[in-house]
Symmetry: C2
Subunit: 193 residues, 2 copies
DNA sequence: TCTTGATGTGTACACTTGTTCACTAATGTG
DNA sequence: CACATTAGTGAACAAGTGTACACATCAAGA
């Protein structure tokens, strides 16, 4: 799995990886592959599972560091960007899987995102933010937030992680996107405005 | 190019297509490929060009049909969904290229999206909508709108085009996303709210 | 210490792949 | 008509691919 991620990190698309290629990168003979996975799709699914863990770690850290701050959005985006950089390959895999890849992988990533959005909704409720929103509209909002961040991920991954200026630019832009969404949510009338 | 799109439409990822595979689908001998393209990346780039045409056609139709209506958002989303269905393979290719694919293809698609967003900004200015936004914030808003629609594209493409219920659901949800964004933009103070 | 389960190895096979080259059929322009 | 350009063909080659099978290594538990 590490080898596959490494190749993805080098710019290859997961869908184009072959068994031999992956095992070669792993420094292992091709037949060994079958000891762990039935095929590449299987490998992809296990990567999605592990991606789930990464996302959960990120969420935990966000929750711990963002409680008391009034700069909730900037902080959260900052944490997201930091995690995306340290787990760059994982997030590349995720971005790739959002649209392409096997049906199953795509569905897996999508479901991780749904989970993430619903956790975000819980947190906002707990912090008594956006209290006027119906449950449905709260989910709508959080879904939109998660999508926006996910899209920013593709921006982030398309620039060098060392290009501090561009990274800061993306961070700022993402934060402003979220601000605009929350302004919209703040003025949203759940009874059909 | 049609053959490549057809394969993408069948669920294969563009990045995983090979020359022989494409020519086979095209009913032509592999060597013929080189009469038209230097390699698969080249094919991808030409597809991006043609995608640009498709998007422009869509824009023209949206402009023609949406002028007088007060349901601007719903209408526009409807037109988008309709085009996404009739050019399903093209839009699949686009969705795939958003995150993966070769650097050049990705940059091409991204630049189409930027163009689209700036055209949208022009239109809104011309209709004297969101007049209080600075140029920069107008661009921000339109960029967010285009991203949101692009993400909805991935939803749309992951359900059967005949599943009218799900398609309608996605259309409604997308429209509400956009409404929320525009509510946010409407209350946005360009001097740092 | 012997057994067992998990992991890795080496060889083999039948296909598929990208690309080359010289050749042929079709097309439209002078 | 003749001619030049464009598109398609068929054979060939070295390299890479997925997968099967029998065998080797090794850690852990009895």
């Amino acid at each position: 799995m590490g080898a596959a991620l490494a190749l993805v990190g080098k710019g290859r698309h997961f869908a184009s990886l072959g068994i031999r290629e992956v095992t070669r990168q792993a420094g292992v003979v091709p037949t060994s592959f079958y000891r762990h996975f039935r095929n590449m799709d299987d490998l992809g699914l296990q990567l999605v599972d592990e991606l789930g863990l990464v996302l959960r770690r990120m969420m935990r850290e966000a929750r711990a560091n963002v409680l008391q701050s009034d700069k909730l959005i900037e902080e959260s985006v900052g944490i997201f960007v930091a995690h995306a950089q340290t787990n760059r390959n994982f997030f590349m895999f995720m971005a790739q899987g959002l649209a392409g890849g096997s049906r199953a992988v795509q569905e897996g990533i999508r479901s991780e995102m749904r989970f993430f959005a619903s956790e975000l909704a819980n947190d906002l409720r707990r912090l008594r933010l956006m209290d006027h929103l119906s449950d449905e509209d709260m989910n709508l909002t959080c879904d939109l937030v998660v999508r926006t961040v996910a899209f920013s991920l593709t921006d982030l991954l398309s620039v060098s992680p060392d290009d501090d200026y561009q990274v800061a630019q993306i961070r700022k832009r993402t934060a402003r996107f979220l601000q605009m969404i929350f302004v919209g949510a703040g003025h949203w009338r759940s009874d059909g405005a």
